[in-house]
Amino acid sequence: MIERRPGLTIFSHGTLIVGLMIVVLPVYLAFVASTHRVEDVLQAPIPVLPGDQFAKNYIAVLTADVANFGSAPVMLMMANSMVMALGIAVGKIAISIISAYAIVYFRFPLRTLFFWMIFITLMLPVEVRIVPTFEVVSNLAMLNTYQGLIIPLIASATATFLFRQFFLTIPDELLEAARIDGAGPIRFFFDVVLPLSRTNMAALFVILFIYGWNQYLWPLIVTTDQSMSTIVMGIKSLVQVAEAEPRWHYVMATTILALIPPVVVIILMQRQFVKGLVEREK
């Protein structure tokens, strides 16, 4: 604080509160809608206080089957999302940390070429190569499988760069000492590099879990079987039902369930998240 300006401080709090309301309002209203009967939601103006149907609606969406809603049960979709998000987060961290280790700690022919090939993936988001990538996955018979949901997404230039950047800050003396003690590359990796990388791995995990959970286009094209849909893409089938008006109370209950896991992760691991986000872009 440079000087005392009570007026300005009040103004700051005021605008922050307005900002917060804009941030929280959509989620709050969705929660409110998810706790009412459908008749109450459809009647304008919609209620602004939670109703008494919380347990009933949530149990209904969590356990109902395909016949009822035109989509897979939410419980199943959440399980699929969880497998996909964990698979992507763990897979990306695992293959990135070993390739960064090779690139930083070994001298071998083609090293630079490999580095650039990994770099190129940054310029090829799935959105710009949708159809041919779909064909590859289809030829490998990976449609409607967890492998198909996970493996094509686990190459990661940003994670590799982050680990490379971090490895470069590990003092060379550690490596010299380890070699004198007779440790080979694998021993050095598990006993020195991996334990030192723990904070970076946690930071990346938060970001990658959210990334994996929130995937939309990829599950949309590689899953045609409803039992493989993920929750984030499943919401669309609830919104766009054949009848005139979606069952908003169920849609909103599903929406709330879809956003809880990543939001909980980000709130619990806020510090790692901010660190990971800011460091990753360096």
Binding site: I2, V23, I98, F114, M123, R129, I130, Q270
Partner: protein, 295 residues
């Protein structure tokens, strides 16, 4: 790039990079090469054979009013999302940097929309803007405005822009707040002693010092608005009404998977690739510069 001391091993380094490279080649480089190849082919009406036509698909695209419309829609959409997201993120970060009380509470809540999927953000705003049940639509209709994003193209555009920017504000907020906190207090104090008020200090000292962050965020937000907002569009408007929100990424998907026009879809993919390559190159040249400043 490389350690002063390092290991030598005949095959271990290749084994270590193999998984990453395999995924990169099979699912990134090969499909991208395929897209380039297909973008120069035209399939015959029965899909039995195809003919190599050089750049005809691209020329056809640039004469297609639908595609030109999509470019225009994309331009409006990306610029609006970027401007709204960066403006609000900066404003909230400046306010959050000033306050001491409840600072961490504000921060936590303002960061959380980052975790909300673009598709979910779209559905949340679709619900509030829905002409029959939405609370915002109710308020606007109460004020005598006509509002129906399901029928009116401009209304639909406003809705998807707000939904897409809402989610991105938290990202911008995190970076602006980090940027603000790294500005030396002494500079701001010096300006205050010279008699500059808070607003003047912001525009003459703080904002110029934030310009690297702002520039970086502009690139990131453009990439976000170009590519990651597919889900917002698909989950809410499906490009409608009457193609008013048919952004380029959505059109590639629709032409490729629904329309099955592979040549045209591949040509659109190649155009999008050129855009993302340009943006990535700009971003990395800038990052190099920032590292120099840092030292």
């Amino acid at each position: 790039m490389l350690k002063r001391v390092h290991f030598r091993h005949p095959y271990l380094p290749y084994l270590l990079v193999a998984p990453q490279l395999a995924v990169t080649i099979i699912f990134f480089i090969w499909p991208a090469a395929q897209a380039f190849w297909q973008s120069m082919l035209v399939e015959d009406a029965f899909g039995l054979g195809s003919e190599f036509v050089w750049f005809e698909n691209f020329i056809a695209l640039l004469h297609d009013p639908q595609y030109l419309n999509s470019i225009k829609v994309t331009a409006i959409f990306t610029i609006s999302v970027t401007a709204l997201g960066i403006g609000s993120g900066l404003f909230l970060a400046v306010m959050a940097d000033r306050v001491i009380r409840f600072a961490s509470g504000y921060r936590t809540l303002l960061i959380s929309p980052y975790a909300v999927a673009p598709a979910v953000a779209g559905v949340l705003w679709l619900f509030m803007f829905n002409p029959t049940v939405g609370i915002l639509a109710y308020i606007m209709q109460g004020m005598g405005m006509s509002w129906n994003p399901l029928v009116n193209g401009t209304d639909a555009m406003v809705m998807v822009v707000i939904a897409a920017a809402w989610k991105q504000v938290s990202y911008n907020f995190v970076f602006f707040l980090a940027g603000l906190q790294s500005i030396p207090r002494s500079l701001i104090e010096a300006a205050a002693i010279d008699g500059a008020g808070p607003v003047k200090r912001f525009w003459t000292v703080v904002f110029p010092l934030l310009s690297p962050t702002t520039f970086f965020l502009m690139v990131i937000n453009l990439v976000y608005a170009f590519f990651e907002t597919f889900a917002v569009i698909h989950a809410t408007t499906s490009g409608g009404p009457a193609n008013a929100t048919n952004i380029m990424v959505y059109k590639v998907y629709k032409d490729g998977f629904v329309g099955l026009d592979l040549g045209s879809s591949a040509a659109q993919s190649v155009i999008l690739m050129l855009i993302v390559i340009t943006l990535t190159v700009i971003q990395f040249r800038y990052v190099e510069r920032r590292v120099e400043y840092g030292n």
